[in-house]
Amino acid sequence: MFIFPESIRFEIKDIIDAIFEWVLVTFNDFFDVVADTIRMLFNLVELGLNYFPWWLMVIGVAYAGYKLYNYKMGILLSSMLVTIGLFGLWQEMIYTLAIIIISVFVSVIVGIPFGILMAKSKVVENIIKPILDAMQTMPSFVYLIPAIMLFSFGKVPAVFATTIYAIPPLIRLTFLGISSVDEEVVEAGKSFGSTPLQMLFKIELPQSLSTIMTGVNQTTMMAMAMVVISSMIGAEGIGQIVLDAIDNLEVGQGFQAGFAIVFLAIILDRLLQGFANTFDKGVSQDA
């Protein structure tokens, strides 16, 4: 009486299996091209990051911290970076950073246009919003396994899974930023006869830049959170160290690598936030 009757069943798992199998076979070549592109991009970014000696990065972070906040923040952030190196996790950090940079890069390229479309069209908004909800609440393990089948294991499915997980806040905040541009500013633009494109690039985007940068910041933090999970599909980096520590029941090693991730997250968060704040000031001065 209280239990849902067993005779009434409509399950979608077989349908999804069939669709996935079809996609796997039909778009095999396409996914190979995507995988090669991501792999190339990764190697490029990793090469670029390795191009800078470690002390230059430390100085760079210290300087950025000083410029964006004050000298205390500069010292704090750069000493966190040094600590990651002291833990012996520098090379792993570079790998992790490369995955994050590419995921955020892809998120920006794909996310901002979608955010703009959502702000411009009610129909697009109504379609994309529930999709974003699903992307954010779907347990990530669910799409990790198909990601391996599409892209093999390692960095490529890691970028794929990280992007899916990290892109929603950027789309949402772009949408929010564009749709909350002051009505009077838009009116002013119209009365000067600006075309829709001019309106977008000269008025709406600059006005909402600080909100969009907040979105980039949130996306970066989400990507950071995905880094450990993506080590389950064979991605290396700090996440791999954490996973190995879990597999070997090494509490100390787990925490050490865990703290390295925390430090990296704090550095990225503070720098991006400080960077976003500079836009805020710029806009208010112009107005």
Partner: protein, 321 residues
């Protein structure tokens, strides 16, 4: 306002304290907590144990999902009472833990299994020369690693003894000149196999029997030199058949001596387990259904494990199914 806040905090604290103590009571008092790993053979043996303990001995059983490492830690911490399928050779601290009395080995569930590096059988048909682990360097072009110019051998998770054995083997056989060993979580390992199998691509990696994977995919074990204990410690030779044990927390014997007596008699085989796994896969049923089928089919076997009373009440339950 302030009073309201204080009251809220008080109620919240009370709720937390109650729920924690409730959990404790549920787990300790009248249930046996069995650890359940993600693979099907473990789920199958757990269902057999659950049915026999619940129906035969009238003790409630709680199945808790846990990874091998979590299971070992939970057994030690007394958060878990029993595991039906512990691959003790894959746990480096096993003998030390037994000696220290952290948990006790009740019986050997089965010990006639295989482990090692496997390739899909279709691959061996294409390349009949690839028979042994030592042949691998000649076929490195089949298993390219996209991130280096070496080949790729896929291993199980880090922390498994089998994985560190394979790492030793890489060095001893000079396989690391040509190959990289990549450790992967089991789900990831199987996903790569499933992908390779779908496209009939080459694949070489670690696997073991009994597992549903051996039932679904036709795999061939790469041969290796014969096992001997001394060489094995250095990574040379094939995997021996390992003991897969029924292991319990020491307190289980004090609390449920009858159940422990049954568990001490528990013994199956790799073949019996595989037959149940195949039944599951072929009929698309869960472990519980497979366990009921198994108990009905193999009455002679398990009737020797349990007391007459337990046998009668379990039979009654099975016939009602």
């Amino acid at each position: 306002m302030k009073l309201m806040k204080k009251l809220m905090i008080f109620v919240a604290t009370l709720a937390i304290v109650f729920s924690i103590s409730a959990c404790g009571a549920l787990q300790d008092e009248d249930t046996i907590v069995i650890g359940e790993a993600s693979w099907d053979s473990n789920k199958f043996h757990n269902q057999i144990a659950r049915i026999l303990i619940e129906e035969g001995y009238g003790v409630e059983v709680d199945l808790v999902t846990a990874d091998t490492s979590v299971m070992v830690a939970s057994l030690k911490a007394d958060n878990m009472d029993l595991t039906m399928e512990l691959w003790s050779d894959n746990i480096p601290s096993y003998q030390d833990d037994i000696d220290a009395g952290d948990y006790v080995e009740l019986s050997v569930n089965f010990d006639d299994n295989e482990q090692g590096l496997y390739i899909p059988t279709y691959l061996q048909e294409q390349y009949p020369g690839l028979q042994t682990v030592q042949d691998l360097p000649d076929y490195v072009h089949l298993f390219p690693d996209l991130d280096s110019d070496k080949g790729l051998i896929l291993a199980g998770p880090n922390g498994w003894s089998a994985t560190s054995f394979l790492k030793d083997k890489m060095v001893e056989y000079n396989l690391d000149d040509d190959y990289k060993l990549k450790t992967l979580e089991t789900a990831t390992l199987y996903a790569t196999l499933a992908d390779a199998y779908a496209n009939e691509d080459p694949w070489v990696g670690y696997n073991w029997t009994p597992t549903w994977v051996s039932g679904v995919y036709d795999l061939t074990l790469l041969e290796d030199s014969e096992y001997n204990e001394e060489d094995f410690a250095n990574g040379i030779g094939e995997f021996p058949s390992v003991d897969v044990n029924v292991v319990a927390h020491p307190d289980l014997e004090t609390n449920y001596p009858e159940v422990v007596e049954f568990l001490r008699n528990y013994e199956t085989s790799s073949e019996l387990t595989s037959s149940a796994l195949a039944y599951m896969q072929e009929n698309d049923v869960d472990a519980e259904a497979a366990a009921i089928w198994f108990l009905l089919e193999n009455e002679d076997l398990w009737s020797q494990w349990v007391t007459t009373d337990a046998y009668d009440s379990t039979m009654e339950y099975l016939n009602a199914q």
